[in-house]
């Protein structure tokens, strides 16, 4: 069983890295032939940096749009972020001081994460407009994340797992030195679902993670009159090559 999980995670890790890497490469490679920032837009690169940060950290546009979706969505994402950071302790030989401190409050983030997810799921089911646009996978993602969250909470607060061994297992993964995993139900479910998530991420709507940074509507500088912007393929068009010269 431990071997299976070790293999699963090794595969999941590489699928995630390579899959995501290829997608990002595709996004970078695909030209943006026209200037289409959503205006009013920043006039400088720094401004664009702030704009993207506001979107990625505070979900600024979502806030403008719908306070409920924002509340649940933001709660979920920020909690997940904290939870992920706390999980670093399984991968670091010596746990730094700040991480220990974060952990004492951060462990409750799993609850807020599940609350956020349940909120999103309820909305998805209860609001006809959102139900209309939902496919089975949209529900499954939420359920998967909720189960990951709940199994995590179970291990943390109710049926404690031998985290020393889990840590040894995790660190072993890094060096291909596979270690034994405690065979607890919640842990196995938790880990299996995380691995599934990692494997499916590059093939799913979870691509919104890189996608948010690649939307030309938000990442372009508003300077079309000052700076000529032409893509490679457009340079090769007949009209471009034969244009009238003064």
């Amino acid at each position: 069983m431990s071997e299976f999980y070790a293999l699963l995670f090794t595969v999941a890790f590489w699928v995630l890295i390579i899959g995501l890497g290829l997608k990002i490469y595709q996004y970078i490679k695909t030209p943006a032939p026209l200037k289409i920032p959503l205006t009013p837009a920043p006039l400088t690169k720094t401004g664009v940096g702030f704009r993207l940060a506001k979107e990625a950290i505070f979900f600024a546009s979502l806030f403008k749009s719908n306070k409920w979706i924002w509340l649940f969505g933001w709660l979920f994402h920020m909690s997940l972020f904290i939870v992920l950071i706390i999980h670093l302790r399984y991968f670091l030989e010596t746990v730094p001081e700040w991480l220990v401190m974060l952990q004492s409050v951060g462990k409750y983030a799993a609850f807020t994460m599940v609350i956020g997810l349940v909120g999103l799921l309820v909305r998805r089911i209860a609001v006809p407009r959102i139900r209309y646009i939902s496919d089975p996978s949209d529900y499954l993602w939420l359920i998967l994340l909720i189960v990951i969250g709940i199994t995590g909470i179970t291990m943390r607060f109710f049926s404690h797992t031998d985290i020393i061994s889990v840590k040894a297992f995790a660190i072993g993964l890094e060096s291909f030195n596979w270690q034994q995993l405690p065979l607890d139900g919640p842990l196995l479910i938790h880990l299996a679902l995380v691995a599934i998530l990692m494997i499916l991420l590059p093939f799913s709507k979870l691509l919104h993670i890189p996608g948010i940074f690649f939307a030309p509507t938000r990442n372009q500088v508003d300077n079309p009159r000052e700076q000529r912007h032409v893509s490679k393929w457009a340079l090769n068009l007949e009209a471009e090559k034969n244009k009238k010269q003064p």
């Binding site: 289409i36 205006t39 837009a41 959102i130 939307a215 938000r218 009159r225 244009k243």
Partner: protein, 517 residues
């Protein structure tokens, strides 16, 4: 008049409940081979249409990062679902921005993603069938490419980009909208969207000169094809004869006269609008843009100034440099291109225009932010100048001004309902229903603040309002051009208006002095 009901103005606009299929099959007329062939499209459904459509989709995905990213990154959060005026007016869920995108996304997933190829049901992927094609044709022509949905999307997904891509794919399998394609051939053949030939245009301009001289005593020049002027004026052809557009043109003429800027229109490029944008064709948009470059070179001008037109200004401001630049042969001391409002506003700032606001005292005005100016372009050198500059000019021209509800103006303005290639009689139902949110906001300021007129800076908005206002119980001529207000208020040097204000022969002139032209 037509076999549909005009939506009721609601006292408290709430999110409407969805009515599936409400607008199914509502489509524009299909274009004809005679137009399509000229634009590089087949004009009829080819035998292997499915392969052709998918190949085009693949091609666009590889050429447009926007499309590729937007196809992947929608999380189906629903934030955009209630933001489109066409959804609000029709209640059809396929008019929710994400619903509209999904028509293409479902096919993208089926043929271009792993999940959709092997687990179509799971991710809602569907085969490309003729029914799907019909749905595309219908619903991608119920989008005005206004980008309101983008403002609210956490992923920055721009449905306009998706709509343009879909229309380009459709055109490649012989299913384009007749309205846009016919007009594009007219621009190519005659020089403008309305098919107004050079001699007729010349006649109109001469009449305008006479009319202004009669009204003011000042000889304001309206040149056509005159070489060596300072500026080439690009303006939507509606400005040449439709009301209230033409009153705006008179306004530009007066302002430029006061500024001492000589200008000309070009009979070959007598149209600012670029319908290549609507159909999502880079090539056609470039072709239309090149006329402006050519006219500027031929007529040896130093500047290019654009009149009041929304989508035209988007293409001019955001794309002209890309499509037909570089413009290193023009005077680099001015923005290229420049909007007439930037000219007028600059003069007002420098105190170079004398305005008599009382001339517009019979009106209480509000301003309709045109979608493509608000969300796809800028004026002036600060972000948001596209909101402040028109308002500053209006306020300089009149005493009574009120903004509409802030949830319907500035960056979240509602489209007039006729943009993006929908301004055609065959889409009247779509236009009337899509106008609902704007009309509701207008009704509110009419009732609460006594607004009598709404000013706009887009030829499409002006035409659309002229048609829509009566449907919603307003006067047809409640829509005015911003430069029409300027035209009424402006006190040109040496004009009869100046004499009236200052008393004949009285040299005590309170207007600031500027260099004589």
């Amino acid at each position: 008049m037509a076999d549909f009901e005009t939506p009721k103005i609601r006292e408290y606009p709430v999110v409407p409940i969805i009515k599936e299929g409400a607008m199914e099959g509502t489509s524009p007329f299909v274009s004809r081979p005679e137009f399509d062939n000229k634009l590089g499209y087949p004009g009829e459904l080819p035998e292997d249409w499915k392969d052709k459509a998918l190949a085009k989709m693949g091609d666009l995905l590889s050429r447009y990062r926007s499309l590729q990213v937007f196809m992947d990154s929608c999380i189906k959060c629903g934030a955009c679902t209630d933001k489109c005026h066409y959804f609000i007016g029709t209640q059809d869920p396929k008019n929710m921005p994400v619903g509209r995108q999904d028509l293409l996304r479902k096919v993208y997933r089926r043929y271009f993603t792993f999940a959709g190829k092997y687990f179509p049901k799971l991710v809602g992927a569907v085969d490309l069938t003729e029914e799907v094609l019909d749905d595309w044709f219908s619903y991608y022509h119920q989008c005005s490419e206004c980008r309101r949905c983008t403002v609210f999307c956490p992923m920055g997904i721009d449905t306009a980009e998706v709509t343009m891509a879909a229309r380009e794919i459709l055109a490649h399998v012989g299913k384009a909208s007749k309205y846009s394609n016919e007009i594009l051939t007219k621009v190519d053949r005659i020089g403008n969207n309305l098919g107004l030939p050079g001699p007729a245009l010349k006649g109109i301009l001469e009449d305008l000169e006479e009319e202004i001289e009669e009204d003011t005593g000042v000889a304001v020049k309206f040149n056509m094809d005159a070489e060596g002027c300072d500026a080439l004026l690009m303006t939507p052809s509606a400005d040449f004869f439709a009301e209230p557009h033409i009153d705006g043109l008179i306004g530009y003429g007066k302002v430029l006269h006061e500024a001492g800027i000589t200008w000309t229109v070009s009979s070959k490029a007598s149209e600012a609008a670029n319908f290549g944008l609507f159909i999502g064709s880079y090539e056609n948009m470039q072709k239309v843009s090149m006329r402006i470059r050519e006219a500027a070179i031929d007529l040896k001008v130093k500047r290019i100034i654009f009149g009041e037109c929304g989508h035209a200004w988007r293409v001019a401001y955001s794309f002209l440099n890309t499509l037909a630049g570089p413009f290193d042969f023009l005077d680099q001391n001015y923005p290229i291109p420049q909007h007439i409002l930037e000219v007028t506003h600059g003069m007002l700032e420098r105190n170079e225009l004398r305005m008599n606001k009382e001339e517009n005292d019979h009106m209480t005005l509000t301003f309709h932010d045109s979608c493509n100016i608000a969300r796809a372009s800028r004026m002036g050198d600060q972000p948001g100048g596209q909101f402040e500059i028109p308002r500053a000019v209006i306020k300089a021209a009149c005493n009574n001004y009120v903004d509409m509800d802030p949830s319907t103006t500035h960056e979240v303005t509602f489209c007039c309902g006729g943009g993006g290639g929908t301004l055609t009689d065959d889409l009247m139902e779509v236009r009337v229903k899509g106008a609902l949110p704007r009309m509701e906001a207008l009704r509110q300021v009419t009732d609460e603040n006594g607004v009598t007129n709404v000013a706009a800076i887009c030829a499409i908005c002006k035409s659309q309002f002229t048609k829509m206002l009566p449907y919603y119980g307003f006067e047809m001529d409640a829509i005015v051009s911003v430069h029409q207000l300027v035209s009424s208020a402006i006190v040109m040097k040496g004009s009869e208006q100046e004499q009236e204000l200052d008393g004949a022969g009285d040299e005590d002139n309170s207007a600031p002095e500027t260099d004589t032209d």
